[in-house]
Symmetry: D2
Subunit: 283 residues, 4 copies
Amino acid sequence: MKLAIFVNITREKALELARELTVWLDARSIDYVFDPQSAKSLGSGKWEEKADLSQHCDAFVSLGGDGTLLLASHYSRSKPVVGINVGDLGFLTEFNPDEMWTAMDHLVSGNYAIHTRSQLEATLESGEMLTSLNDVIIEKGSASRRLPAFTILLDDEMLGSYRADGIIIATSTGSTAYSMSAGGPIIAPKSNVFVITPICPHMLTVRPIVISDDKTVKVSVDSHSGEFPLKMDGIQKKLLLPGEVVTVKKSPYHINLVANEKRNYCEILRKKLLWSHEHPTGE
Amino acid sequence: MKLAIFVNITREKALELARELTVWLDARSIDYVFDPQSAKSLGSGKWEEKADLSQHCDAFVSLGGDGTLLLASHYSRSKPVVGINVGDLGFLTEFNPDEMWTAMDHLVSGNYAIHTRSQLEATLESGEMLTSLNDVIIEKGSASRRLPAFTILLDDEMLGSYRADGIIIATSTGSTAYSMSAGGPIIAPKSNVFVITPICPHMLTVRPIVISDDKTVKVSVDSHSGEFPLKMDGIQKKLLLPGEVVTVKKSPYHINLVANEKRNYCEILRKKLLWSHEHPTGE
Amino acid sequence: MKLAIFVNITREKALELARELTVWLDARSIDYVFDPQSAKSLGSGKWEEKADLSQHCDAFVSLGGDGTLLLASHYSRSKPVVGINVGDLGFLTEFNPDEMWTAMDHLVSGNYAIHTRSQLEATLESGEMLTSLNDVIIEKGSASRRLPAFTILLDDEMLGSYRADGIIIATSTGSTAYSMSAGGPIIAPKSNVFVITPICPHMLTVRPIVISDDKTVKVSVDSHSGEFPLKMDGIQKKLLLPGEVVTVKKSPYHINLVANEKRNYCEILRKKLLWSHEHPTGE
Amino acid sequence: MKLAIFVNITREKALELARELTVWLDARSIDYVFDPQSAKSLGSGKWEEKADLSQHCDAFVSLGGDGTLLLASHYSRSKPVVGINVGDLGFLTEFNPDEMWTAMDHLVSGNYAIHTRSQLEATLESGEMLTSLNDVIIEKGSASRRLPAFTILLDDEMLGSYRADGIIIATSTGSTAYSMSAGGPIIAPKSNVFVITPICPHMLTVRPIVISDDKTVKVSVDSHSGEFPLKMDGIQKKLLLPGEVVTVKKSPYHINLVANEKRNYCEILRKKLLWSHEHPTGE
């Protein structure tokens, strides 16, 4: 068995857990490699290029927060991913540091359940394909004063065309990330839907729209000029030209998260969104 | 063949269409009955109790708006329903008056497509079951100054408990009705999800949550006293006591709307929500 | 000097503080009375009718939360009000229990600053006038299925008429109460504006509107029948008839809150709204 | 008398009106100049640098939409501005083309009322001062994946610090522009307040906050690196460095709009926001 380990190198706690984990793995003669950046920070010689990890490793371990796991997920393909959070509980990183050893025991013994998460696949006109776990985002860019219009087709039917700061197409996993900041609803896992959430639309009647995940969404930007960032999970991947069509649909590949059986989605939601605290005044 | 006809008796245009329709049906020797209220307004002796209509009729015709069709749907069971709107285009009433004869031709000849719409079923502790096409709503009632808390379980897991003016559980059909006024997302038909939308929650982090339609939602009201209206499609059906649990899930019965093939959901959405008009200033 | 004391009798901590306060006052030969309900709970013979308190007392003390202070404010007129909170920090109750003695020292010695808060005055067609510190609310009532329309005039100009669950007219003080639950903005104290916030409007383009506090707002309910609750600070005062006009403007009377100089509004806002905690995912 | 004329050169109707206006002015021997761009499009030799116009001209005329008037307002200082819209009614451009001649008659005869509009003044650490009629916007820029935090001080008190896509500080005039797209309230003219509206904040409890226009707002961006666009009325003016403080307050200069006495704000609001059309379903 061989593990791929991603570490949030800006968090001392994550680096510390990584060192403890290697001792634990060495003691059990379990092989492992880091992604290059993590290896460098840890002074470890055991690393491989990120793109090679899924081919050579049997499982992935992420030590950090949801962002680190998001990064690991871009390389894990169908391999199981264990997410250990080093700060607050995450939506994706279901294990606290003190649950790490139990999680590792289960991973090594193959005694674990999987939470399958859908991904989005964006295809450019060039044929290039990109994948994301949270969302596909197309933004207005830094262009001119006048906002561009975003045209959206749903299974080749015109859904709408409106000026906005951008458009988010999010999975249920991504519904509690950027889409929520832009006013989108929470989508429970395993709902088999995506949500198209406008960012600051110039039309007051435009609302987030939830669609079945068997739909194909095509987005293009109407503008005379300019370049429009295409972001996958918040990372800029391309600059789109006016009129260039991005085709977004469900990816055939899933992310397989190792589940923490002690925790359920409702509990995580309540904790993350602080549903124990009432805000407006009154007694 | 026998038709059941519901008319919005407050709209002269609807009554006029009803009279024209009876002439058309008589000429073709097609049998029909009205619901009692419509018959009375039209001075027609052809009526049956609403509860008997689905048993004796082969199809339903609604002449009015989405509200009239909503009423008809409470009695239509699995029989096909043709919705003719007499005012603006409706989300449910897909045919304009000038498309009525084509719609009727297709209905009579059996040459039509069906849009199947899911319904919700609410079960009370007494065992009584209620059905709705749009939504199940539980409200704060007129009680005391202090708002009650609504406790929500999702497949018997605690989702949350918070004070609010009420809770809406809506189908995709109902997503553009009351749920939207309360800030809920649009849900495209055939998405196989419901949305739980809070009404004016006292907690700023509570958001609409979209769930798979195979989930069971249990709602109860935490309060020392008071009575809390349970509404199905906006019509008050019961007053709930504190602690009384309402169990909401997908109904085994669907509404079968006769489809207008010239129209698609995206087009209706764009028209109803005026997505051709930009609101904020700027040129 | 004579104090009027209001206690949240459902909170043991508040009753305890009340007992301690009476000992403290007795020791200093400072006179006091309770409102009738508080006196009864405390077994005290020192009480007066609420309506008489402002005439006979020099200052008001509220032991409880914002709700208790809201109640006291309905009787305090221009007399200074000290708000001691017994639970979480309040928007109005600026003193914690351990700051009570300092607050009382300052009150008794006349050594304190005042935060003046505007109130709203609602005048009915009968000439009856009602006052509120937070808000004037007109609701749909329990009437029929079809929502009533609310017609709003601003200085006798038609602002709009739309169907909704209700209308809130809130002061800056009330902006963090019910108006916020309905989607209204926060209004900092001393802004000299009110906000008109619709409750679940049936028109997607209706938004909260902020107006200068020298404006007069007239609201009436368009409906064939029904009774529509008029609430002042959340307490139902009247049932309005269709077409009955409520005239709302700034009250000539202010509430004078004794200020906690150790605390400022920004700090209270940050604490009450938990602006130290980030919700959506990401690291 | 001498007029400064700004034209939306992308609209044929505006160019046409400009030509008609020059004939009308020539016939009355009233002097006029265009801004350089408009003069070029019209093939006119009568132009001056925009920065010189307020010094040499007695009044400004804007032919276009709200955007053209916004541009003119950047150079008009205290001189009266007549806004003729060539498309839909604008929030700022109160005269339709067929009302132009009446408006011009009144302007020339000095027989008109003024609507005074407040402006914002942003001061950079360098001492440079910028002015805007609608809003001051600070954005996240194109930087890194992790959003920067925006720190906001109100009269040197910490209001909050949170990650977001940006911050808008808007006047009442700007409240129906970008701020509204980001969820801000409508602010009626002459309310003497500004609104601070967050753009897609990462904290669900952050809301637009309305403040008195005698407050000073200081905004800075917390980030390790990056450049953050500062936009005045949507036009990028500077790139801010991390930690650089922008001080925003009410400008001592007002914009003086020539009022259309046949029109009032409520009417414009109702028309622009389509408050005659109901969106959600139901009859």
